[in-house]
């Protein structure tokens, strides 16, 4: 009980600091970068729920991300509803679509699910490219901004991350948390214990896709444009890398990882490094696996809680 309260207080403190410090200094460029970071942090939070807590490795989060962006943009431009509402509607649409696609692939075990998720963004890229109704190769332009005040946009993006972290917290602390752990550990034993494995996998997928869709919708409104390039592998590998670095199956791990990696990316904006970024990501991933298998938050938690762990 005491530890739970500590966790919650810690969460609130981190988010309060993130809300006040950047807006206080009012640096436009940094605020834009931080808004972008928050979007990727939310995407990483979404990845962590599916691949960290439930152990279903997703290599296709760019599909949920870009799909959410497209759905939100189309809804906003055609129906003229306010951006925030459009983002939520877009997330619901992509959740429905992904669950339909996911239903058969959830029966697959282990690496086969990962392979399917790897292919889906590739197909989506080709389909979007070929359809003029979806903007074709150029994508959709003229998406209105959420607000003209960069500080407001930043604060909304931060509250989205907070929402994602709180959803994870509530899910993990509930009955679902134990069920997800069981499925991650052993599917056959879970079934023997009475867990309807396909159903709970679908629940987890739905929540994860919804959060990724929110991130994607926000991304579309932040940039004012969404194009098929959003389906690229980088958008799928970034949340993975961020979560592994920060610590998978931890609440704040994905957020910590997102802030570190975004900082590295933005401070190393040199042509040759940008071009070889996939190589750098891979090297970083290897380093994490060897040095910090449980991520930064996992490492710190072991250090601090080692003596209080029951």
């Amino acid at each position: 009980m005491r530890r739970e309260r500590l966790t919650l207080l810690g969460l609130l403190a981190v988010f309060a600091a993130l809300a006040f410090v950047p807006t206080f200094f009012n640096l436009r460029f940094i605020i834009f970068i931080l808004t972008l970071t928050n979007i990727f942090a939310l995407l990483a939070v979404s990845w962590n729920l599916l691949s960290g807590y439930m152990g279903l490795l997703s290599l296709g989060h760019s599909f949920f991300f870009a799909g959410g962006g497209y759905a939100a943009a189309i809804v906003a431009l055609n129906l003229g509803i306010p951006p925030i509402v459009a983002i939520f509607v877009g997330a619901v649409i992509i959740t429905g679509l992904s669950c339909l696609i996911g239903l058969p692939s959830l029966k697959l075990r282990g690496h086969f699910f990962a392979l399917v998720t790897l292919v889906i963004p590739v197909i989506a890229y080709q389909v979007t490219n070929a359809l003029p109704q979806l903007g074709g190769h150029d994508g959709i332009f003229g998406i209105p901004p959420i607000s003209t005040d960069a500080n407001v946009v930043y604060l909304i993006s931060l509250s989205f991350v907070f929402l994602g972290v709180m959803v994870t917290y509530v899910v993990v602390r509930s009955r679902l948390g134990i069920i997800f752990s069981c499925i991650k550990d052993d599917e056959t034993a879970s079934m023997a214990c009475g867990i309807d494995v396909p159903r709970y996998k679908l629940y987890c997928l739905a929540v994860s896709v919804f959060l990724a869709g929110l991130a994607g919708g926000f991304y579309a409104f932040l940039n004012g444009v969404i194009s098929p390039a959003t389906y690229e592998l980088e958008k799928a590998s970034l949340p993975l890398l961020m979560t592994l670095l920060g610590g998978r199956s931890t609440l704040l791990g994905p957020v910590v990882g997102a802030y570190i990696i975004e900082t590295i990316i933005e401070s190393l904006k040199v042509e040759i490094l940008v071009r070889s970024r996939l190589l750098i990501y891979s090297a970083l991933a290897l380093m994490i696996f060897m040095l910090f298998p449980s991520g930064i938050v996992g490492y710190v938690r072991r250090r601090f809680y080692a003596h209080t762990e029951d």
């Binding site: 009955r175 550990d185 079934m191 214990c193």
Partner: protein
């Protein structure tokens, strides 16, 4: 009405008939042992009954209801629970959480007193808050049995619960199993440790090459010629010269 009845269960893998036209009946409150040489089809029979595999032919009735090809988790929720020969603990949960999990997934309140009693009898109380990777093989085997019992099943299928256990540990497992049956539970046990098995069960089914070759009292098992032949002609395994 029998608690479990199978009718002509058959399952083949390629050219091998693993379970061949097996019909068994288990009455409520019984403790039945299934024995047989390796590859006799005992575990496959459990897989067919518990819904892990679909039979090619035949039907399974649990509590009078036709449950053939029902999903394993639905059967488990109905009270037909099985354990595994090769232990399958939930590695990211503690020993205690492993036992609470099968109840919480049914959104029911776990009976903490009951779980504590099981752990106590098995001698696992002092390890209940440890992660499962700190347990010995014998303790993991006992955890497997405990997890089966924890959700208070109607019928429990145990796949080699004594394998790799010390005499002392077998004693403890036998105690919790006897308690389970006294509290109106029904047990079916696959086991290779025959001497220990004979002490707890009231009836023995012997399988060989997918078929039932004997059904009856433990004392009568060594007298059956077919059984002796299946076990390489040695009646010593039953502890009777």
């Amino acid at each position: 009405m029998p608690i479990l009845r199978t009718e002509g269960l058959t399952k083949s893998f390629g050219g091998i008939v693993a379970v061949n036209n097996v019909s068994i009946t288990i009455e409520k409150g019984e403790m039945v042992g299934i024995i047989g040489p390796n590859g006799a089809g005992k575990t496959t029979l459990f897989n067919l009954i518990s819904g892990m595999e679909k039979p090619d032919q035949g039907r399974v009735y649990f509590n009078g209801e036709d449950v053939t090809s029902m999903k394993p988790y639905h059967l488990s929720q109905k009270g037909l629970v099985r354990t595994f020969q090769i232990v399958r603990p939930f590695k990211s949960l503690t020993v205690y959480q492993n036992l609470v999990a099968p109840t919480t997934v049914r959104s029911a309140k776990p009976d903490h007193g009951f779980i504590d009693r099981i752990l106590d009898t098995l001698g696992l109380s002092n390890k209940k808050n440890l992660p499962t990777n700190l347990l010995t093989h014998g303790e993991l085997k006992m955890l497997e049995v405990a997890r089966g019992l924890a959700s208070k099943p109607i019928l429990l299928l145990l796949d080699e619960p004594f394998g790799g256990l010390t005499v002392n540990e077998i004693e403890r497992v036998s105690t919790v199993l006897k308690e389970f049956v006294e509290n109106k539970g029904t047990l079916v046990i696959i086991e290779h440790r025959l001497r220990e098995l004979m002490k707890v069960v009231g009836r023995i089914i012997v399988m060989d090459q997918g078929k039932i070759i004997f059904e009856g009292l433990p004392a009568d098992v060594p007298k059956s010629e077919e059984v002796v032949k299946a076990y390489l002609g040695s009646s010593k395994v039953f502890g009777v010269e």
